[in-house]
Amino acid sequence: MGTLVRGALSALYVGSARKCRTLLFDRRRLFSADVIGPSPHSEHAGTAAAGHGDDELYCRLYRTHIPTSPVQKALLAAGSGVAALLDPYRHDMVAVLGETTGELALRRLRDRMRGDPEGYQILQERPRIRVSTLDLERLGAMPDGSFGREYLRFLDENGVTPDSRVDVKFVDDEELVFVIQRYREVHDLMHTLLGMPTNMLGEVVVKWFEAVQTGLPMCILGAVLGPLRLSARRLQLLTATLIPWALRNGMNARCLLNVYYEQRWEQSLESLREELGIEPPPQL
């Protein structure tokens, strides 16, 4: 009886926390007398799971989730912005900036994905682009000019791997976690489709494209502040040809998150570009 009362009181507490989206789930579990302590698993596992039982009483929605208050998000956004500007190689700070500032844009993206049949399928099936899920040998065996072969060439030429993405930590909706993860994983594919290398110039061009397509504040910031680090000659090239081209593409092309790339490795790059509405990259 005492445990039920305590459970009720603590449920009211958890209930009053604004950020808990799995509220209903937590409340139901809390009212079951067994679960006032750590989760039931800990009884069987003995010791190891005891530490995680507390988390289930609060609002962790996925393994790498760190629930944050609005104040913390604001501080994180400011701090990570400064850190990313000071040291552009801190990819984790760029990621944190994207997560903390991108909630509205991610929701809009998710709604666009839901509206498109292929995007809806992606949201249902949740494919991941990782070394473990990609069959790199199969991609290498494909004919030149096919999307898969060109993607592999891009990875090799620029020395990048699809596994280098940071975990999502500060997004408070489990579906939006997938959307932002998909956006990060599709970034390299955007490079391939746009034909841009991973040097500073190429990254800025892709950021402009992404800013128009996704509307994420982090992309907009990167697009606006990125050119500051370029030399004058490259800046001139950027403003004269590349940015207008990227903007045109961004506005005319289909939303690139709605494309089920895993089913299109055999398709030729030209036909994929035509289908998506992307002009071939200008000759530099």
Binding site: D54, L76, S80
Partner: protein, 326 residues
């Protein structure tokens, strides 16, 4: 919902010690106390559970988890200390040294000394004292020859074991590595010894040291009473135990500000500067878990120390506890 939350909060204030839910950032009843009781009556194994911040873990797990935390933070430890305390931690450590007022020839054991801040200050203080003595000596000798004056300016013979004046002991090798590097950078070559050891089971003989300090380390120890007993064992009779640790803020307004600062800002700083949110979340939670000034004083007295006192610094954010072995 707001009103029921208010009633529940008032009720809970009566029955529970408050802690701040690390996820929801709301004050919630101290469920883990209930947890601990519930867990210990239900677990079949002999493993007792303890707290790791606001989580409940087994005692073995806690030692391991704390080790990992400090392994991760070792490289950025000093930068983060400055950022989190706005440099005030230096004043706290200086205050500890002034309270200690060591004289030349004494031997210090700095437990959980990791990056060496206390030991460096100890060496500086002793050197300063020695220089002062030497200067006073030469001043008092009115007609000293140049030879005598030169001899007087030699660094004083500290009659300790092999010239070692401070022993830094830490359970974590990464922290000691960083400490040794810092010592080399600052030129504290001789006079320091670096030992890997557990505060609950020190690798030293009885009655060895004049001073035992543990600065911001004892809250990470799984069995605090064992650490205190070990401290009593390795100190010489007449030796002094000093502990610098975060403690309870009594002023309610300052306490609210401090809580907001700890829970909102410090993990953010950890994420931005060190790329590690969770270690710094553990840090602020472990502070809330540590006993308050009076309770800790009682624990020190239980271990056999006499004339146990505490001094609050910065309104109780930090407290220095001191006791003597007689």
């Amino acid at each position: 919902m707001a009103s029921s939350g208010g009633v529940a909060r008032t009720l809970c204030r009566l029955y529970y010690r408050f802690s701040v839910c690390r996820q929801c950032q709301r004050q919630v009843p101290n469920l883990s106390k209930t947890n601990r009781f519930a867990v210990s009556t239900r677990l079949y194994s002999e493993q007792r559970s303890t707290h790791f911040g606001f989580e409940t873990v087994s005692e073995d797990e806690k030692t391991e988890k704390v080790y990992k935390v400090f392994e991760n933070v070792a490289q950025k430890y000093d930068v983060m200390n400055d950022a989190m305390s706005l440099g005030i931690h230096r004043l706290w450590k200086d205050a500890l040294m002034h309270l200690m007022s060591p004289t030349p020839g004494t031997l210090l054991l700095d437990v959980a000394g990791g990056t060496g801040d206390i030991s460096f200050r100890f060496l500086d203080y002793i050197r300063f004292r020695q220089d002062r003595e030497a200067r006073r000596d030469t001043l008092s000798r009115q007609s000293a020859s140049w030879q005598e004056i030169t001899e007087a300016y030699q660094p004083g013979q500290s009659d300790t074991q092999g010239g070692v004046q401070a022993v830094v002991c830490d359970i974590n090798k990464e922290m000691l590595k960083v400490g040794r590097q810092r010592a080399a950078d600052r030129g504290y070559g001789t006079g320091l010894s670096w030992v890997v050891g557990n505060a609950e089971e020190l690798p030293f003989d009885n009655d060895k040291f004049d001073f035992y300090t543990i600065a911001f380390g004892i809250r990470n120890v799984t069995h605090i009473d064992q650490a205190l007993q070990e401290a009593h064992r390795v100190l010489k009779p007449g030796g002094r135990f000093l502990c610098l640790e975060f403690s309870r803020v009594s002023n309610p307004l300052l306490s609210r500000v401090y809580d907001a600062y700890s829970f909102q800002l410090i993990p953010v700083l950890g994420e931005v500067i060190a790329g590690d949110w969770k270690s710094y979340q553990y840090l602020v939670e472990s502070i809330r878990r540590f006993p308050d000034q009076e309770e800790f004083k009682a624990m020190i007295e239980d271990a056999g120390f006499f004339k146990v006192q505490f001094h609050n610094l910065t309104g109780g954010v930090v407290a220095i506890h001191s006791g003597f072995k007689l």
